[in-house]
Amino acid sequence: MRTSLLDACRDHLGLTGSKKGCDHGQCGACTMLVNGRRINSCLTLAVMHEGDEVTTIEGLGGPANLHPMQEAFLHHDGFQCGYCTPGQIVSAVGMLGEVSDGWPSHATDDVKDGASLSLDEIRERMSGNLCRCSAYPNIVDAIETASTKMKETA
């Protein structure tokens, strides 16, 4: 009953790609997509997600079939130790979904307008994912590359 969605995936289903950084919603290492939306899996109970569709980093792609976001992180060296990386990648994929749905952010000049994806927008929208190695510049570049690529192939 007390099992978080994160612990259920890591300890019971063997899906150890999602990481536990803080266990308190402060770092984003545990980010998963639930019904397509990104959330912190450490701050929710597995039992509350009966019937929901949950996507972890493993579900986005593996070594043989990398997701464009995973490819872009490799290409741009969007990590150092790699601990925050699964959360960064899943969060970035969720974030691009929010942008294509037209969601504004704190960095949006006029919230009445639709959303765009400047570098400032990427930084603001990704602020829920911390990187202790401070690989931020390459993370932002990777997300920009992937977003262009995903638009081309969409």
Binding site: H24, R38, L45, G94, G102, H106, V111, E124
Partner: protein, 323 residues
């Protein structure tokens, strides 16, 4: 985390009767349960209740279901167009992941970020009535300057609630006995006084079902949040404003403040002082004088008094600059 029972509420009328602590997004409650600051014996999961609609009301406002997420509310086209101050306040809070989970009801009821409240080895009258207040005379950089008591100087951390206060939102609830009532946000929160553990006027088992917004306010909408990082940090001071100009003078000014008190702060005298005035720095200073007349620093948070003044003046200058 302490063990607890779990029940899922199937309909609104049974939720209160299940006699447990409601859980919605869980982003505040589970955080506090892991630290054993909160130790409910039973959780009532309300996330399957049909409270996710945003609908128009007969008087031209909107009714927001208690389970509408902070993300969905901020992105809702009618909120962005007619209640921009609310959209802005929501987007200034937490992170993308948290806003996707956090709900309208849960956000109103989130608890203070006072570090003594979070640390169970420390005294805290809010967590353990009678144990004392660690923050008075201790680390109190983030604490309140208005409406404090000698029992508690905590702030309410919500950005959304500040905008709701400005907009004169009304909370709709259902009590455990099935009866319902409406509570203006203005009357929803309590000052700490002698009982800082009691934060709102809600009864045990009373479920928030919706938050209602009156019809939109004309004017320039602003939400300015001052914090230690540019993103993903709680407010030290925040100012929500809707200001309407007419013929070079302020025709209407609504102001609400975060980070200053145990509740979103609003002071009718501050607004009254601005109505009919020209938008000059001298007039903004007079409004700040009224706001801060009773302000009291606790040491580390003394800076909030001048910071609140500067932030208020900057927001008023920005909101009136086109006139």
């Amino acid at each position: 985390m302490r063990p607890f029972e779990y029940a899922r509420a199937g309909n609104v009328s049974e939720a209160g009767a299940l006699a447990g602590r409601f859980i919605a997004g869980g982003t505040n409650l589970l955080d506090l349960m892991k630290l054993e600051v909160e130790t409910p014996e039973k959780l009532v999961d309300i996330t399957r209740l049909p409270l996710r609609e945003i609908e128009e009301t007969a008087d031209g406002g909107l009714r927001i279901g208690a389970l509408v997420t902070n993300s969905d509310l901020a992105a809702e086209p009618r909120i962005r167009r007619d209640y921009e101050v609310l959209s802005r306040a929501l987007l200034a809070g937490a992170s993308g992941q948290l806003r996707n989970k956090a709900t309208t009801g849960g956000n109103l009821l989130q608890r203070t970020r006072c570090s003594y409240f979070y640390e169970t080895s420390q005294p805290c009258n809010k967590r353990e009535p009678g144990s004392g207040c660690g923050a008075i005379g201790g680390f109190n950089r983030i604490h309140a300057i208005l409406g404090t008591s000698d029992k508690c100087i905590a702030t309410h951390p919500s950005d959304m609630a500040v905008a709701m206060r400005l907009l004169d939102a009304v909370v709709e609830t259902q009590k455990a006995d099935g009866s319902s009532r409406e509570i203006p946000v203005a009357e929803f929160y309590r000052l700490p006084g002698e009982t800082p553990q009691i934060e709102t006027v809600l009864d045990q088992g009373e479920l928030i079902t919706a938050v209602r917004l009156p019809k939109p306010l004309q004017g320039e909408h602003r939400y300015r949040k001052v914090r230690d990082r540019a993103s993903y940090a709680f407010a030290l001071v925040s100012v929500a404003a809707v200001v309407r100009m007419d013929g070079g003078r302020i025709a209407d000014a609504r102001l609400a403040f975060g980070g200053l008190a145990h509740m979103p702060w609003r002071d009718a005298a501050v607004e009254q002082a601005l109505v009919g005035q020209e938008p000059t720095m001298a007039n903004f200073d007079k409004a700040a004088d009224i706001l801060l007349a009773e302000a009291k620093g606790q040491g580390e948070n003394d800076f909030k008094i001048p910071l609140a003044r500067r932030t208020l003046k900057a927001v008023l200058a920005d909101a009136t600059k086109g006139a």
